[in-house]
């Protein structure tokens, strides 16, 4: 992949911090945006801006068309059967909440069970914990193995007639481990054919080719800002057949058919979940981000990240004081590495790296249950994307050397 050409599409990467070249390795938190996305959003505001599906005037029709086309484009990219299965939210957090409260409120009964994995991001853990509490249902947490993998055979045994929902991350934001979603779903269904599956794709969709129909889940959540899009755009897939099981959680304009003094009928489409004026410019910008990714090709991005992981692991061999969390096989993980350096607190390491222009994340990365289980206060996470190259990893390791000199 031609990263030097790609880097040119991301003006922010030319920035300096503390007089040093910016090395951006915090892509799992949010990715940078290509100029085409920024321009698309600004063009929209400069030439087409209007509210959608409400006015008959030209601008409103243009904006509505752009918004609808964005939905088509995004549905097509992720292999949804219909664009009506794509709901725009503000992010993965809102998507999980919409299903927890829109589906859980309606379908969970006392003693029902929800299965989740220990390594989930708080956004894909707390909503389930909360709805379980409110409905007197049980949250069953599957523990992780010492080699950072899950023993799914053990998990399947926990599925009973009371199990209603299985919650999985397509990839963890700390370990990067990619789950075989399709296989897991198939196996789970052998134990209980009526299960629903919620998949958090926040860390997978930006890095892997995702085909929603072939994965076979009922719900799939994506954060647009982690895949070149603007903040405030979440993409939630709800399989059409399941939509009658999910109530909206936002009631208001844009989602109704008719309102009378004593009764309201809702639209029977994805729009019933999008009450109020949606993030129109954001969704249009998101669609442009999808165009950019399509142009580069998700397969190429995946190959590139695997190469970067290999390079990282190779360099890491010379650093005996480095502990890496997760599988050491690049093919089993997305392009991120969480690690610690012996005797250096993750915050101190991240602070020295920041001074060297290297942006990484430190802390528990919104995965406290996992960090508690690993008995570490936190970790440092370097996460790659399509514009990163080996020189960025070199800069990271040089900065780590510097941190040792200062802190040890």
């Amino acid at each position: 992949m031609n990263t030097s050409r790609i880097k040119k599409d991301f003006p922010i990467l030319k920035r300096e911090v503390n007089g040093k070249k910016l090395v951006y390795l915090d892509n799992a938190a949010t990715s940078q945006k290509p100029l085409s996305v920024v321009e698309k959003i600004s063009d929209f505001y400069l030439t087409n801006n209007a509210n959608i599906h409400r006015g008959l005037h030209t601008l409103s029709e243009e904006a509505s068309e752009m918004y609808d086309e964005a939905r088509e484009n995004i549905a097509d990219f992720f292999g949804a059967a219909k664009s009506d299965e794509i709901i725009f939210t503000s992010g993965t957090t809102e998507s999980a909440n919409l299903i927890a409260f829109g589906w859980g409120e309606k379908n969970l009964k006392p003693h029902d069970e929800i299965l989740v994995l220990l390594s989930e991001h708080h956004s894909n853990f707390v909503p389930w914990q909360e709805i379980a509490k409110r409905k007197n249902a049980k949250l069953i947490v599957e523990n992780i193995q010492p080699d950072y993998s899950y023993n799914f055979t053990e998990m399947y045994k926990k599925i009973t007639d009371n199990t209603k929902l299985v919650v999985l991350s397509h990839a963890s934001n700390v370990l990067g481990n990619i789950l075989e979603i399709k296989t897991i779903i198939n196996k789970c269904q052998k134990f209980n054919p009526n299960l629903r599956f919620f998949v958090d794709g926040a860390q997978a969709a930006p890095h892997l080719e995702v085909n929603l129909q072939s994965l076979g889940c009922d719900f799939y959540a994506i954060s647009g800002h982690k895949m070149l899009g603007p903040t405030g755009v979440g993409i939630l897939y709800i399989k059409k057949e399941i939509q009658n099981e999910v109530d909206p959680i936002k009631f208001g304009g844009g989602m109704i058919k008719e309102v009378y003094l004593d009764e309201t009928t809702l639209k029977n489409s994805c729009e019933k979940y999008e009450g109020g004026t949606p993030n129109i410019s954001g969704v249009i910008g998101m669609s442009e981000a999808i165009n950019y990714l399509r142009e580069i090709g998700m397969e190429n991005i995946r190959k590139h990240e695997v190469e970067l992981l290999k390079y990282f692991f190779e360099k890491a061999q010379d650093h005996e004081d480095m502990t890496i969390y997760g599988s050491m096989s690049p093919l089993e993980r997305t392009g991120l590495v969480s690690f610690n350096i012996k005797k250096i607190h993750p915050h101190d390491l991240a602070a020295v790296l920041a001074n060297e222009g290297v942006a990484v994340r430190s802390g528990h990365h919104c995965a406290m249950p996992l960090h508690k289980h690993l008995q570490i206060p936190g970790s440092v996470r370097a996460s790659f994307y399509l514009y990163n190259d080996e020189s960025d990893i070199d800069a990271l390791f040089t900065a780590i050397d510097k941190a040792r000199k200062i802190l040890l």
Binding site: H345, P346, H347, N355, G363, P377, G378, I406, L407
Partner: protein, 123 residues
């Protein structure tokens, strides 16, 4: 490279008052949920005066240095004096430029102290 300057690193590598106090008058546990820092603060109080203060912390350098400086500062002070000691006073004593995200690391020992004294006085 403001924060990791020499005086700061010297305290970090050899912090004052690290350890437990047996038969302490108060022991308070503090956690910073945002970053996972944890600490225990031990105070020995006699006649309304802090006569000894120690800490144990699992935290970054900012938390350690702040704990060391704070425990040093309050030794010999009356509880009234200790309570008058502010976040601003502490940050001034630490004396390095902290970014917004790390001010919380520095103030955890003080929050723990305030909580501990409140509980001590309630008893």
């Amino acid at each position: 490279m403001d924060i990791y300057r020499e005086e700061f690193m010297e305290i970090y590598k050899n912090p004052m008052n690290q350890g437990k106090i047996e038969k302490a008058s108060l022991v308070e546990h503090g956690t910073n949920e945002a970053c996972g820092d944890e600490m225990d603060l031990y105070l020995k109080i006699e006649n309304g005066k802090v006569i000894d203060a120690k800490f144990e912390a699992e935290s970054c350098s900012v938390g350690i240095v702040s704990s060391a400086i704070l425990t040093d500062e309050i030794k010999g002070k009356t509880l009234a004096e200790v309570k008058a000691f502010s976040k601003k006073d502490l940050l001034e004593l630490i004396g390095v430029n902290l970014t917004t995200s790390r001010i919380k690391c520095a103030t955890l020992p003080l929050e723990t102290l305030v909580k501990g004294i409140e509980e001590y006085e309630r008893k």
